[in-house]
């Protein structure tokens, strides 16, 4: 049951940050109205963050990653299953790296 102090601190700060966003919406809405542009901005953040994380790996690291990325998108789209898509992606990269 290892608990590293730095890790614990990170987790507690994450908990505070997340709860602040959950409670903050209730609180903010009672004080002010968000403009439509601010709403659109908040709405687009999660997708844009995820795209930013994957883009350098999928688009700029090599053919194995690009092909695996394409396969993951296709599998996730057709099956809707996250674990299946993940196993496919990892499998394709492992095979292509072994072959290349």
């Amino acid at each position: 049951m290892a608990l590293d102090p730095q890790t614990l601190l990170a987790i507690l700060l994450m908990a505070l940050a997340t709860y602040a966003t959950r409670a903050g919406g209730l609180w903010l809405a009672s004080c002010l109205r968000l403009s439509r542009r601010v709403e659109a901005w908040l709405d687009h953040i999660p997708g844009a963050i995820l795209v930013s994380i994957v883009a350098p790996v999928v688009l700029a690291s090599g053919p194995a990653e690009a092909l695996a990325g394409l396969a993951v998108v296709l599998v996730a789209w057709r099956t809707g299953s996250l674990p299946v898509a993940m196993v496919m992606g990892v499998g394709i990269v492992l095979v292509l790296r072994a072959v290349a």
């Binding site: 987790i11 700060l13 659109a40 901005w41 687009h44 998108v73 809707g80």
Partner: protein, 211 residues
């Protein structure tokens, strides 16, 4: 019920990846129980390393969680009549899925605010249990690099993105995010590309929609 099955599977994946990123069983469980946000938890695993970028992890969690502000604001007309403790206690359990279900109940004219808490508690139990199971089972795997840790994260995020795609309004923000992230990843050190791409992409989406 289908939500809980898929939620359980995602929790298993999180547990496995948390183990590969170096979190202990207790740490993985605590993170799922205290943070209880799949999106934030997956994203910070990508930042995990030694020395631990504590400030970057907290800031990233805050940015990823900003969408909760909108969700909470949408609940507020129905929650404003509740005692404060109940309202502010229930929102701890607010996740994308039970929020969406609660809003659809409200739109049908039902006014039971406990719907959010009920769904949230069920998902909370599923999320923490599956994290524990995934972390324990995943602990058997050694040498994460040989198992493709790098692409496992990428694959999970890509699959999540497929589910988040809402149509053409996402095209511009996602394209901007991808371009900025690739450029920033090339020219800047560390993890700045994630925040830069996320901010410019979402701002592009806001400007585009506002225009």
């Amino acid at each position: 019920m289908p939500i809980e099955v898929s939620g359980f599977a995602i929790g298993l994946v999180f547990g496995v990846l948390a183990g590969q990123a170096g979190l202990s069983v207790a740490e993985s469980f605590l993170m799922s129980a205290l943070v209880y946000s799949g999106a934030a938890q997956f994203v910070v695993l990508g930042l995990w390393g030694t020395p631990l970028p504590v400030a970057g992890i907290a800031l990233t969690t805050l940015v990823v969680g900003l969408r909760h502000l909108l969700m909470g604001a949408a609940l507020s007309p129905f929650f404003s009549k509740l005692p404060r403790l109940e309202a502010y206690g229930s929102v701890f359990f607010m996740a994308d899925e039970n929020w969406a279900l609660t809003m659809s109940e409200f739109s049908k004219g039902k006014r039971d605010a406990a719907f959010l808490l009920g769904g949230g508690l069920a998902m909370f139990a599923s999320w923490t249990t599956s994290t524990l199971v995934g972390r324990t089972v995943g602990g058997v795997l050694r040498e994460p690099a040989r198992w493709g840790l790098d692409v496992a994260f990428t694959a999970v995020f890509l699959a999540l993105l497929v589910g988040m795609w809402r149509g053409r309004s996402d095209l511009l923000p996602w394209a901007v995010a991808a371009l900025v992230a690739v450029a920033a990843h090339h020219f800047l050190p560390g993890q700045w590309y994630i925040l830069l791409g996320g901010l410019t992409g979402s701002l592009a989406g806001a400007v585009w929609r506002g225009a």
